[in-house]
């Protein structure tokens, strides 16, 4: 549409929406920060009981192993599972004002990313507890993986939030798909535990390579170049796809919402 805002206005929009999300999240509760780490931690606890205590998985430092996978996964899962509501929940603004609507999912994903960053100190505490320490490679590894995960997550969020306006039961499907994807991704298990004949199938999962590298980086300070390449390709493809879907559908948002 005409009257596209300047890039400085894009930035202002992102800042304001980001701060809004943060305020909404932390305003109603003084335990705001605790809540955002309690969620993945309680997941870690459940999986620890199920896999370590009951099923006796053979792995040392399983708690640490779990949280280094669960924390980044939680960012992805939170962003995508709330995506169906990003446009719907802002119906009144979308009907009323002409502004670049993709700013809404952008700010939402950014906000979940911030929460993931805030949870990194928790991982460090656990590492120190197990006698490990963060490596220098975090300095370039974390920004790199953050960028890749942002591309994948934002791309997915764009698709889900846009399509959900036209198919309102996508929200339920998203929930089911996320659960399936979670167990197909090496988060609670290591990729080395996948039987050899199925192992190459891991590359079909757009999240797998990324999650493997997060754990690699956080636990061992290393990045696997092959997985890195795969996740970069997935990032670009999903982001491209998301932008295309958004571009194709966004002009109809005002009438279907």
């Amino acid at each position: 549409m005409k009257n596209q805002p300047k890039s400085s206005h894009y930035l202002d929009l992102i800042i304001v929406l980001f701060l809004k999300e943060m305020k909404v999240r932390y305003k109603s509760t003084s335990l705001g920060y605790l809540w955002s780490i309690l969620h993945p931690l309680s997941f870690a606890f459940v999986f620890f009981i199920a896999f370590k205590v009951v099923m006796r998985i053979q792995m040392e430092h399983y708690t640490l192993f779990l949280i280094t996978g669960l924390f980044p996964w939680q960012w992805f899962a939170n962003s995508v599972s709330t995506a169906p509501m990003t446009f719907l929940g802002n119906a009144s603004i979308i009907k009323k004002v002409n502004f670049p609507r993709n700013i809404l999912p952008f700010a939402a994903v950014l906000q979940d990313m911030a929460h993931f960053l805030f949870s990194l100190p928790v991982i460090v505490v656990f590492m120190l507890f197990y006698g490990k320490s963060p490596g220098l490679s975090w300095l370039y590894g974390i920004p790199l993986l953050l960028a890749i995960q942002f591309l994948i997550t934002y791309g997915m969020a764009l698709i889900v939030s846009s399509v959900n306006l036209f198919f309102r039961d996508l929200e339920r499907l998203t929930g089911i798909a996320l659960t399936l994807l979670f167990y197909f991704t090496p988060v609670v298990y290591a990729e080395s535990m996948v039987p050899e004949k199925y192992r190459s199938l891991i590359y079909l999962n757009p999240l797998a390579s990324l999650m493997i590298n997060w754990r690699n980086l956080l636990l061992n300070g290393a990045l696997d170049p092959r997985h890195l390449t795969v996740s970069i390709v997935y990032g670009l493809v999903i982001f491209g796809l998301g932008s295309a879907v958004y571009k194709k559908l966004s002009w109809k948002f005002g009438e279907v919402i």
Binding site: K95, F167, E255
Partner: protein, 246 residues
């Protein structure tokens, strides 16, 4: 002063009826052939080949029955809807005041919502910071301004919404029944602000069911009926014709 700032040329707006779609994937897949046919055929026409112009500095009222397509017209002007065919041209900074109190978040305070809304409506953060005290003063909500707006009444929301929009320094204002809410005092304040805008040469498009307001504010009126422009002309003539018809 006679340059057109809003131009509609043969604008048709159809809405696709989406029951097959918003019914969800499940419905869509189970009734695929029917659903696709439905998307193709089920068009609901709201506006049919409408053409008109609004000149710079003019105040134009749009009248018509419920469902005649008045709000669609404003949506097209605001740029949130696109025409199915024809062209809509709008020149200048638009401040939409559609469905007041819409773009607010209930858990944020009045002040936070002013910032959010101001930036969404096209101001920079700096500009909002400059104007915020004037906006707060105009809204005149007292201590409520620091309270979450879920505690506000609908009249208070309207005050907040109007106050933000009134400070946008727009070139074109789109008003949709805003004066219906708010107490008499604030209504008067709004009216004064609108007249002030009018005097400073701002173009105003005003949708209303109150013929008195239309006559009071508008120079010209456009009467929409049966998807078309039924009559345009000076506000008094058109509103009288409309009233005698209903």
């Amino acid at each position: 002063m006679n340059t057109p700032v809003i131009t509609f040329r043969n604008v048709t707006k159809n809405y696709t009826l989406y029951h097959g779609l918003t019914g969800g994937f499940k419905n869509f897949l189970f009734r695929l052939p029917k659903a696709i046919k439905q998307i193709r055929d089920s068009k609901y026409c709201v506006l049919k080949e409408i053409s008109f112009e609004v000149n710079s500095g003019e105040t134009v009222g749009i009248i018509g029955r419920n469902g005649a397509g008045k709000s669609t017209l404003l949506g097209l002007m605001a740029g949130v809807l696109s025409p199915s065919s024809g062209t809509v041209e709008v020149k200048g900074k638009v401040a939409p005041l559609l469905e007041l109190g819409g773009g607010f978040h209930p858990d944020l305070t009045g002040i936070d919502n002013i910032i959010l809304n101001g930036v969404l409506l096209g101001l920079s953060r700096k500009e909002v910071a400059h104007k915020i005290s004037a906006i707060i003063k105009f809204a005149d909500l007292g201590g409520y301004i620091t309270q979450p707006i879920r505690t506000y009444s609908s009249g208070m929301l309207a005050r907040l919404g109007f106050s933000v929009a009134a400070h946008l320094e727009p070139e074109i204002i789109l008003l949709d029944e805003v004066l219906a809410v708010g107490d008499a005092d604030f209504q008067k304040k709004c009216m004064n602000k609108i007249l002030e805008f009018k005097q400073s040469g701002v173009t105003i498009v005003f949708i209303s069911h109150s013929m008195d307001s239309v006559r009071e504010i508008c120079d010209r009126a456009i009467w929409i009926e049966d998807h078309r422009v039924k009559m345009t002309g000076d506000a008094v003539t058109v509103t009288k014709a409309y009233q005698s018809c209903n």
